[in-house]
Symmetry: C2
């Protein structure tokens, strides 16, 4: 029987490629997604499409009460505008929910241990290192150490935090996804959560740049495609 892994999947580009990658490694994947009142709840519907394509066990956990408590983020405060243009430090800081990745990954780990899985997996990547401290290699390392001591005696087969893209750019992830035949229309990036990707918010910019960097044709329909050098 193949090893079980619980993957944290938002339905965005990176975490969807992660699911394909883990399956490619021969792992038995379970998916967990979190509803934290994000504007781009639409991505959760996209996570469901990937789960359903591969008949993967998929849990969506409502964390709205937790993020309402701790959040100062524009992602969950609908009264504030999403900053347009490429992420610069200041606008990215507005999208930080303190300790969010640690909370989601610790819940994923609890479920993983109950399932008898030997790892959790996250799509944190190099492009997020600059501003999100909980996307850096040292976070992966310290979380892994904490989980081992917190659950000693209950993880007899060992336990690890898989972050295969932690040193990859988003362009690298698109290249990997292209090789694995990822269904790009089943991924969602736009923070604005409209009918189609807006093309001009920070994550749309990043998505467009990633395909360009990878040299992979971007099949995403965008509402607008302002020039990369001309963020609004």
């Amino acid at each position: 029987m193949s090893e079980k892994v619980v993957a944290v999947v938002s339905g965005g580009l990176d975490s969807t490629v992660l699911v394909y990658h883990l399956r490619d490694l021969g792992l038995d994947v379970s998916m967990i997604s979190f509803d934290y009142g994000q504007r781009h709840r639409k991505e959760l519907e996209h996570a469901k499409k990937t789960a359903s394509r591969f008949a993967i066990e998929h849990e969506i956990i409502d964390l709205t009460n937790v993020t309402n408590l701790i959040s100062r983020s524009v992602l969950t405060d609908h009264s504030r505008d999403v900053p347009d243009g490429h992420y610069a430090e200041n606008t990215m800081r507005q999208t930080v929910v303190p300790n969010r990745n640690a909370i989601m990954l610790n819940i994923a780990a609890g479920w993983a241990i109950t399932l008898g899985a030997t790892s959790i997996a996250t799509a944190i990547h190099a492009g997020d290192h600059y501003i999100y401290p909980d996307c850096r290699p040292v976070f992966q390392e310290k979380l892994s150490e904490m989980l081992k001591v917190a659950n000693e005696g209950f993880i007899d087969k060992g336990f690890s935090v898989r972050a295969p893209f932690v040193n990859s750019t988003k362009g690298d992830i698109v290249k990997i996804g292209d090789t694995l035949g990822v269904e790009w229309p089943e991924t969602w990036s736009c923070y604005k959560g409209g009918d189609i990707h807006c093309g001009s918010c920070g994550t749309c910019f990043e998505r467009r740049e990633a395909f360009a960097e990878a040299g992979v044709e971007d099949p995403t329909p965008y509402l607008a495609t302002p020039h990369f050098d001309d963020p609004r």
Copy 2:
């Protein structure tokens, strides 16, 4: 202005003494409690009494959906019987919810960072080390390291995990509480959650033993007080 701390408080004996202890250190305490569908939800009402006595900001977070997902614990599975008598390893194992402390403390840390607090506090103590790996000093240490790297740049004044009782017995905690004038009737231990403490479940046994060990008169009304050497 005094330093802020977020304390995880169940309404049990240990965490109530923790609140008195933190206030005694001159800290500005906020309290967070978790409803995880425990049989002894009654303890949450007791946490409210302590919050209200000191006009402390108090948040109760519903984590029922999370623990329903990850739990194999008799504490939250009402179809199973609570084991009576003193906790032995096997019966205590039945009350383990994988990674529970890490999940609660990570949520507390997220809120603490939003509040500008410089620490979180937990009432983990030596009596729980034997079976609960997430009550040991090394867990406190690894959690603290993880929180620092996960939130680098957002905790400019530093951040720590306070676990003042991590090397104390429950008897020591009762002694400290006695000195601080803790209102014992505003604490709840019994896992069975009846009108008064049953006196015979594992936590009632521990409570009774702690007062005996401390040499402090136990003001708790119990339904039954079987001899300590005669666990049922």
